[in-house]
Structures are given as structure tokens and as C-alpha cells.
Amino acid sequence: MSAAPNLFEQQARNRRQTAAWVMLFVLFFAWLGFGGDAALYFGSVDQLGQAHYTVPWIGIAVTVAACGVAWYSWVNGPKQVLWSTGAAEIVNPQTFEEKQLVNVVEEMAIAAGVPRPRVYLVPDADPNAFATGHGPGAASIAVTTGLLQGLSREELQGVVGHEMGHIRNFDVRLMTTIAALVGVIVLLSDGMGRMFRGGGGRGAGALLGGRGKKGGAGAIALVIFVLWLVTLILAPLISRLMAMAISRNREYLADATSAELTRNPGGLAAALQKIDASDAPTTSIKSGVAHLCIADPLGRSANLREGRFADLFGTHPPMAKRITILKGMAYQQLKASGQTPIG
């Protein structure tokens, strides 16, 4: 990383990386569907060089099933996420804290130039927050009661700005989509694996040795088939790793957006420090929602360290690194405004 990147550069870089990841996801999906067809196609070539398997049934089936399941989880995802955490919508704010929260959300919506999202409160003493929804027009922000009680107004603003960043940068849409895609891949891999262990063994045997075909086409079929099988087995793991990598990048981007909206990176830095200090897990937030939260609700050690392992398995970048970057922004801001930075 270059020394102290500025806010807009960082956003641009994160966007490019995310686009690359999404492309990879789509390619992976296509391979999972049509790779099997390719193996069958080359496997069905007979002595005359005529292929008997011409319609890519697996690809078509995978595409249709994936679209159906993905559409269903896309529509119902945000509702399920909110329901699973026991979040209750604040319609008429009663207490002072609730009024303040709704005000802060309204302020950040104005700063971001998006309609005000719905506000939810999760009954949990551990400070945490997340955003979900289908895009800037239909989004929700949820914070825990612990966050509301433990943070100052400025810090709350930083956290809400972070979540508003997730909404304005279309992260919530991307995350809802990815959650749906990962779900489909896991389901597919499971279903196909079962098929192969059952009646499929016969089919594979016929594919590889059956028709007494010669040389080239058979070898290609074997290689493609083995590769395809390996991907199918590894698919759930790989797709989860991909989702996590996208999630990590997006956290830095949302931090940067929060700083852009509030023009006060110090507020979010202070909030992250407080959230980090309370190391108890957020019990009401399940692991399936973890990648949406401002801080890992499970307090997993993978998110604490930097390095290969943490880079692969954490849903969140290390807190210390996020705080350092934010403090760097605050320092630059002070310098730019001509004041002497302190501390």
C-alpha cells in the first residue's frame, strides 16, 4: 500500500478489485455448469468423430436452477437476515436515544443523497451494526442496543455513515446477490455430489470407458471430467472464500465512504476502538450475517491478524489496520485545514 492513500483513490481501487472478483464468480459458475457438458461432449465422440452428446443439459439445468434459487434468495434475503437477528423496526422513536439514532440516519441519508433507509434495533448488549437490502431505494440499517448506549453521537454518526456507505456503494445489493449465489453453489454441489455417488457412477463409467472411442477426445474428456469433479467438491469452500474476499474489500471502502460523508474520520476510528474493546460475541447475530456487520460478531481470531490465513478466512480486515487508515485520514484532514495535528 502506498503511504496514506486519499479517500477517492481508495474507493476507485476497491471498486476495480470488486469488479474483478464478481467476474471470477460468474466464470466459476459457468465452468460449474458447462464444464460437465464439455466432458460429456468429448466423452461421447465415437470412432467416426461424431459426438452423441450435443445438448448441454447440465449447463441448462444448472442455469435454470441457479436462476430460480438465486431469485428466491434475492427477494427474501434481507427479510430473513433481519428476522434472524430479532431486529425490530423503529417506526415511532420513543426514547431520546432512538430519536437520536433516527436523526443520525436521516443526516447520513441526506449526505449520501439517498432515500432514508428503514431503521432497526437489535436487542443485544454487544455493540455492532449492519445494513441489508436491495439497493439505495430499499435498504435497512440495524444497530444493536449496546451500540446505541455505548457510543457518543459523533461515533454513532461514523458507524451509520459506514453502513450508509454500504448502501450508497451498492454493497448491500452485491452482498444480497452474493449470499444468493453462494447458497446456489453450495446447494448445487451438494445435489450433484449425491447424484454421482448414487446412480451417477454408472454414467461416469460409460462416459470414460464405454463407447470404445480412441485417443484424443477420450483423454480430453477425462481431464475435463476430473477437473470438473474437483471443482464440484471444492465449490462450497471456494465460493465462501470469494464472498469473504469481496466482503473484506468492501469494509475498507465503507470506512472511506463514512469519512467522505461525515468529513470526520476520527469519529468512526473512535467508534471502532470502542467496538473492538468489547470483545464479547454478538450472540443474536448468526454467522450467516457476519459479513454484513461493521465488526465480526463472532470475534474470530482470523480477523485479528494480518497474513495469509487471515486474508483467506476473515470476513473483516484487521481492526487495527482499519483504525490506522482512518486516523491517517483524520491527520491529513487536519493538515489540509492548516491546523497543527496533535497526537
Binding site: 431520546f96 430519536k99 437520536q100 436523526n103 443520525v104 436521516e106 443526516e107 447520513m108 441526506i110 449526505a111 449520501a112 443523497g113 454518526q157 460523508l261 468529513r263
Partner: protein, 191 residues
């Protein structure tokens, strides 16, 4: 003989796109300005409530209260019109309100009153909303201004009747300055 025709079509398509882009930005700028207006109006509406609530407990601060009331009426009149006039009048109102909030800190009675606390939160939130709406307006207006000046979009700017949008700059020194807290030991009213 096809070449000139294709060229004309491409140029026309570009003109249409540039024109639409400018119009979209223009409307965004107008809309961002309306957002500020909504919040300014809300602030004007909230101030009488606050003044009436604190009036009784703040007998000794008539000047501060009067300054807020005066600044409000000036701001409601528009402060001489235009972005600059509005910005100056609203800036003065922000300054007067800031002073009032600082003075209110000295009255424990007021600070502990739930009603005052709610009103104060409402007003400071409105202040923030004004600031954020202004921030958004300045961002969108800058984008609009840059676009209509940039080559080659500047050729279409006349067609789209694009004009440079005035930015909302903080004119008032009082708003920029950090509020001064009076720490001298003047006799404080026992409320």
C-alpha cells in the same frame, strides 16, 4: 459516401448524450438545493419552540435570545437573495444558535429538562442536516460546473442552457470560528 453519414450519426448521438448528461446534472443540482431549503425551513420552524421553552429560565440572557430571533427573521427574509445572501443570513443564524447553546450549558435546569434536551437534539440534528445537504449540493454543483466547462462538453453547454451554479460557501467568520466559552467568574444566575 457512407462515411460522412456515419460521422453525422455518431456526432448527433454524442450531442444527445452530452446534452442529457448536462440536463441530468442540472436537475440534480436543483434538487440538492431544494434539500437544503427543506432543512432551513425546518430550522426556522423549530426556533420559536426553543425560544419559548428556554425564555423563562434564561431571564439574564435576553440579548442572546434576541440575537437568535433577529437572525431568524433575517434568514427567513432570504438575506438579500441569491445563494450568497441566503448563505450569509443562514450562517449568521447558525452562529447565533451556537452561542445560545453554549450559554445554555450554564443552566443545569435547562440541561436536565427532557423537553429541552429533545429540542436541542432536534435542532442540532437539523444543523447537521443543513451542513450535509450543503455538502451534497456543493459536490453536485461542482460536478455540474466542471462538466459544462470541460472539453468537448462545453460545446453543448449553450444548447442545454447550462450556467455555472453558485457554490454555498461559508462566508460568516463566526461560523468558522470555534465558539468561545466564557470561563471568567462572572456571577451566574441561580436558577
Amino acid at each position: 459516401m457512407w462515411f460522412p453519414l456515419i460521422l453525422i450519426v455518431v456526432v448527433l448521438a454524442w450531442v444527445a448524450m452530452a446534452y442529457n448528461g448536462l440536463i441530468a446534472l442540472k436537475n440534480q443540482t436543483v434538487n440538492a438545493w431544494k434539500q437544503i431549503d427543506v432543512q432551513l425551513k425546518r430550522r426556522h420552524d423549530l426556533i420559536p419552540n426553543l425560544v419559548n421553552t428556554v425564555k423563562g429560565s434564561m431571564e439574564f440572557e435576553k440579548d442572546t435570545l434576541q440575537a437568535v430571533i433577529d437572525a431568524r427573521s433575517k434568514a427567513m427574509a432570504g438575506g438579500g437573495g441569491g445563494v450568497k445572501g441566503t448563505a450569509a443570513a443562514e450562517g449568521a443564524l447558525s452562529g447565533a444558535l451556537g452561542k445560545l447553546f453554549v450559554v445554555m450549558e450554564q443552566y443545569p435546569d435547562l440541561k436536565s429538562s427532557q423537553n429541552v434536551r429533545d429540542l436541542q437534539e432536534e435542532l442540532s440534528s437539523t444543523e447537521n442536516k443543513i451542513a450535509f445537504a450543503r455538502q451534497l449540493y456543493n459536490d453536485v454543483a461542482t460536478q455540474y460546473n466542471t462538466k459544462q466547462q470541460q472539453f468537448p462538453t462545453n460545446f453543448v453547454a449553450g444548447l442545454a442552457k447550462a450556467q455555472i451554479a453558485e457554490l454555498w460557501e461559508i462566508e460568516d467568520q463566526a461560523e468558522r470560528a470555534v465558539p468561545q466559552v466564557d470561563l471568567s467568574l462572572k456571577p451566574k444566575p441561580q436558577a
